[in-house]
């Protein structure tokens, strides 16, 4: 088993309360399915949309990230999967894809000492 992160981008939740609840329930169902098949290492956390960016030798502090809303990472999950192909397959069930968002699937590099 290898580990991966899912980074969720885009899809500022919006719509009527009823639509939001439906979207919400899709997420819950998706997570339940991932969990039941033993693929969730850590459900992760949502991230606030803004914070600070600290840069360079000067350690200058900026507001940010100043990315477009669709490019801001909104949260992450740690996934266990056989290989990248399987992790990608799992990510395809993510409801964020239905509303124009994306999931970035990144293998976690583990150094064997």
């Amino acid at each position: 088993m290898s580990e991966f992160t899912f980074l969720y981008r885009g899809s500022d939740p919006s719509g009527s309360p009823e639509q939001m609840q439906k979207t919400m329930q899709k997420w819950v169902a998706w997570f339940k399915e991932l969990g039941a098949s033993g693929h969730i290492k850590d459900p992760g956390h949502p991230l606030e949309r803004t914070g600070k960016v600290v840069k360079g030798n000067q350690k200058s502090v900026h507001d940010g990230p100043y990315a477009e809303a669709k490019d801001v990472v909104g949260g992450y999950t740690l996934i266990e999967a056989k290989d990248l192909a399987q992790a990608v397959e799992l990510s395809k069930g993510c409801p964020i894809l239905e509303v124009g968002g994306s999931v970035e699937v990144r293998p976690i590099r583990i150094l064997n000492m």
């Binding site: 309360p17 939001m20 979207t23 919400m24 329930q25």
Partner: protein, 418 residues
Amino acid sequence: MELSDHLFRREAGRMVAALTRVFGVHNLALAEDVVQDAFCRAMEVWRMRGVPENPSAWLMATAKNRALDVLRRQRTARTFAPELGRLLESEWTLAPVVEELFAANAIKDDLLRMMFSCCHPRLSEEAQVALILNILCGFSVDEIAGAFVSSHAAIEKRIARAKKIFSGSKRLFDVTAPAEFSKRLPAVQRALYLLFNEGYHGASPETAVRTELCHESMRLVVILLDHPLGGTPSSYALSALMCFDAARLPSRVDRSGNLISLFDQDRSLWDQNLVLKGLKLMELSASGPELTEYHVEAAIASIYSTAARAQDTNWQTIVSLYDTLMTIRPSPIVALNRAIAVAQRDGPERGLEEIAAIEDRDRLSAYPFYAAALGELELRRGREDAAREHFRTAQGLARNPMERRFLDRRMEACDRPR
């Protein structure tokens, strides 16, 4: 933890009612923003961390904290609820006051206050109903347009205009003033009645949407009954009427989405619990001197709903109840229903005579079930050609595929050898 159906929609109404109480009626838009914000937070957190034990409390607490933020940050730039005076200005009183306003029993009154505020006398009945659906029931413009078979633009305009009047009304309706309460109560009852009817008889082809409208109005009428000034005989009668009609909802449409007439419905599907509830409410409505249209309509609906078979219906009583209804709230639709009851009692010829005698029956000409009723009675007295013509007229007026299919089948019945 699973979310109960329509939880977000219901919580939207509760939150916006509580927030408007704190922010003041002129800040309705701000209250709506805070509600949207609370839902966004919930989405972001719950989708990863799971739905909390008590999602309603979570949402309400989020809205409350956000309200405190807004009040602290904007109290010099904005004015908030005038009813709360200076209580929001000092840090000593701000948090306890807001805490109190978000307590569960306070929110129940907030919903009632909002319901009465939405029935502002300067708003038309349609606007009141749209506003209730939008603010208290959490329906979006699109969802309301879908339910009313209207365009997005038309509903958006209606709601925007209504909100402008609403926000300009200076303060929320005071539900503790008995004289004012009684004066506005009929408008509130009427709005809930229209909301229910839109669900029951409305033009939307989607049964699910319409059933929801019925359930929403029933939920709101319970809030009305729970209030010492709201639980009047007429409110009980209105609630009874809704129960009797709602009891028959499961059989009005068959599995393939076809409309079924009262005479052909599978009565074993009727919700007997709702019928019993209706009968209890009707008893509670029978006090005091006032006889309202809701009393009479509830009585009519109770007779339909308690007849074991269509032929067991007591048409004599129904006709005389329609006579009473014609004196309280005459309308061509009531007259048409009365004529149909007469036909049941005395035969199709008498029914047709009664229809011909309806004074303002030209006002029915766009109503598909007027032509359909004529067709039905002609068919019953063996004039298939005349019947077919009427059904064809009705067909041209049908408002959705469900009605059209129903009329198709009535036209087929004209061709069948009898």
